[in-house]
């Protein structure tokens, strides 16, 4: 551990392998992977699905165990359980992920990016190979510390084994992950979903949308430049929510909101509250020019897919407009209908998915052109049988982090 005291000249590939050899091997893996990217013809990503991924996992852990138990004196295994191998693989994984963080992971025109597969790093052979080395190091040292269990290693085991489980389950689980989206219309049962490759999938149960609901915030007021059409107040920030009785200041204009109607349509000179599809919010505002005390009063509206918007021109340069209201909450009141004639009622909302027969059902979106009058609700169904293993890993790491906080706290000047 303390190699500064003993500095002995040693040759490359001499026992034990150090940082130079480790980076040499790691870089070799990456170059091999990039060659595979350039010359392999199959365009699809490498994934395993049940039962092969489960067999792979069990086989992999067994092999790691056997390697540690009976072959730990060999050069390769000794190297894999030592620090240079770990640090070099952490660094090289970091380098490849950094490429992913800089080059957009979408189809590209650039030849080099395309040939080397730098726009799909997560399924790039170079990444998979170096990740494999990373996981092998992680797996071997987890096994090592578990077999030589000591309470002082408890945090170590939680962190390393947790990460190993979360990563391997996440990688192998992609083959079994199902994500379907389903359009449901008010008053009609639906059971034909679409998968990630745009294939139709028939569900063993149907969804019946009783009601789709949107809660909106009030619209906002903005000062707009008449020539450019862009927001001319506070760099486009700090728009004010329209609320009856409020007074706001834009440059040298005082804007008072005399009245606000969330759903209204124009009748002659004024807006009246109605309860009709596509009726937009409207407000009556009085604008006072502070310089000359001139007052203008008018109704403005943000408009909707059915009615035009109305703004108020307050000077040569500026107009006051009302923005389209932002969505506060949207939810679907649904029934799940089974073939056995069962009927399960629930309300789906963003951040509040519903669990049913191994599926998690999410509120995904709606027809945003229709806004709150949408009678379409888009649901997402996700099945991830590997989730429990990933959660075990995540919770081990959370416990490990708490342990680490406690240990970090104990480091002091005189320790």
């Amino acid at each position: 551990m303390n190699e500064n005291n003993i500095k002995i000249q040693r040759n490359l590939w001499e026992n034990p392998w150090g940082y130079v050899e480790s980076f040499f091997i790691g870089t070799g893996l990456i170059i091999t992977g990039l060659f595979l990217e350039v010359f392999s013809t199959s365009g699809s990503a490498f994934t395993l699905s049940y039962p092969f991924n489960l067999i792979f996992l069990i086989g992999y852990v067994l092999v790691l165990f056997v390697l540690y138990k009976w072959f730990s004196t060999t050069q390769l295994i000794r190297w894999l359980t030592k620090v240079p191998a770990s640090i070099s693989s952490i660094v090289l994984v970091t380098v490849l992920v950094m490429i992913m963080g800089i080059i957009p992971q979408v189809s590209s025109e650039n030849k080099i990016i395309n040939n080397l597969g730098l726009n799909h790093i997560t399924s790039n052979w170079a990444f998979l190979l170096i990740l494999f080395q990373f996981l092998t190091c992680l797996g071997l040292i987890s096994i090592k510390r578990i077999l030589q269990f000591k309470w002082s290693n408890f945090g170590f085991i939680l962190n390393h084994t947790g990460l190993f489980l979360a990563l391997i389950a996440g990688i192998l689980g992609t083959g079994d992950l199902q994500r379907l989206s389903l359009d449901v219309y008010e008053g009609k049962p639906s059971w034909i979903a679409t998968d990630m490759n745009n294939q139709k999938v028939e569900l063993p149960f149907a969804f019946y949308l009783k009601d789709f609901l949107i809660d909106e915030y009030n619209p906002k007021l903005a000062l707009v430049d008449n020539k450019t059409g862009s927001i001319a107040h506070n760099d486009g920030k700090n728009l004010y929510l329209v609320e009856k009785g409020e007074t706001y200041y834009f440059n040298n204009f005082e804007v008072k909101i005399d009245d606000f109607l969330p759903n209204a349509i124009r009748f002659g000179m004024r807006y009246e509250a109605v309860n009709e599809i596509g009726s937009p919010p409207a407000a009556k505002i009085s604008v006072k020019n502070i310089e000359n005390d001139a007052i203008q009063t008018a109704w403005i509206s943000s408009g909707s897919f059915r009615y035009p918007y109305e703004s108020l021109k307050i000077s040569e340069d500026y107009s006051v407009v009302m923005t389209i209201p932002e969505v506060k909450k949207f939810s679907s009141d649904i029934d799940i209908l089974t073939k056995e004639g069962e009927r399960i009622s629930t309300v789906l909302e963003v951040n509040k998915p519903f669990k049913y027969k191994g599926w998690k059902i999410y509120q995904l979106s709606y027809d945003d052109k229709m806004g709150k009058w949408s009678n379409l609700s888009v649901l997402e169904l996700v099945k991830d049988p590997w989730l429990p293993l990933i959660y075990i890993g995540i919770f081990m790491m959370i416990a490990g982090a708490v342990y680490m906080f406690w240990m970090g706290n104990k480091i002091t000047k005189n320790q």
């Binding site: 969505v327 982090a401 480091i411």
Partner: protein, 267 residues
């Protein structure tokens, strides 16, 4: 409309802290004055807390949505870290740094008036929102503190009087910061599963958060096995902080930003 009161509050805080820093500088000569500096720092911090509480109440949503609001939390956590570290390590320069850094963030916010919109998109309306953001910002503040220790270490070794204690302080901060960084990352994963259906989607912000995590992971492993290569350790620590800054501010400007769910809102 509390955000508009910000100039008033921030001026009071900065004046208190500035006078405190002057007293702290004098206290190197005359130690008894240090108490006055501390009283001023704490007074400024209390005003800061009052402002955050008032802002939260008036906005009617957690003030954690915009970049400016995250800077505000950063400026709130830094003095706390400074106080606690001072109590344990007795480094005045560290306390001075955290107060100066917090003031700097207040000034940045003062120069960039931010939104005080009350709206919050549905995906952010989750019990995970507050722990995810607070844990992250606390960790960022602690890790920023550790990077200042790295700079101090560099400066000291340039002057030829580097002490290994300095690296121990860095370790102390990195362990705490890294623990919170891990929690922030994992809380984010658990939340994403509830909100978007998957715990990890390689969103650009997630990629850079992962890189930040890996950066400090390299530091911790390197330190653990090479106790005496202090220069290299300090370099790794400084580089890891650069990655953290890219994650916090830089992602918005990278070519990958267009596909992120994490970009801070402007309106």
């Amino acid at each position: 409309m509390t955000w508009i009161d910000f100039p008033l509050y921030s001026s009071i805080i900065i004046i208190l802290w500035f006078i405190g820093l002057v007293f702290l500088a004098i206290s190197y000569k005359k130690h008894s004055i240090f108490k006055i500096a501390n009283v001023l720092f704490v007074a400024g911090w209390v005003v800061m807390i009052l402002f955050v509480v008032k802002l939260w109440l008036e906005l009617d949503r957690p003030p954690m949505r915009t970049l400016g609001e995250t800077r505000l939390w950063y400026a709130t956590f830094l003095p706390l870290i400074g106080f606690v570290t001072y109590i344990r390590w007795k480094y005045k320069w560290f306390l001075a740094y955290s107060i100066a850094m917090a003031s700097m963030f207040l000034v940045i916010n003062y120069l960039n008036p931010e939104t005080y919109s009350k709206t919050l998109m549905p995906a952010l309306q989750s019990p995970w929102f507050i722990p995810h953001v607070l844990v992250y910002l606390f960790s960022y503040a602690v890790l920023a503190a550790s990077s200042i220790v790295a700079i101090k270490g560099w400066y000291d070794s340039y002057q030829g009087n580097f002490k290994i204690e300095t690296l121990k302080l860095a370790d102390n901060l990195v362990y705490i910061g890294f623990a919170f960084l891990t929690l922030g990352l994992l809380f984010g994963a658990l939340w994403a599963k509830e909100a978007w259906g998957h715990y990890w989607t390689w969103d650009p912000k997630e990629v850079w958060a992962f890189l930040t995590w890996m950066g400090y992971l390299i530091y911790i492993h390197y330190r653990h096995f090479h106790m005496h290569n202090s220069k290299q350790a300090l370099t790794i620590l400084a580089l890891a902080f650069v990655v953290l800054l890219v994650c916090w501010f830089g992602v918005n400007y990278l070519p990958v930003a267009t596909t992120s769910v994490h970009t801070y809102t402007q309106y």
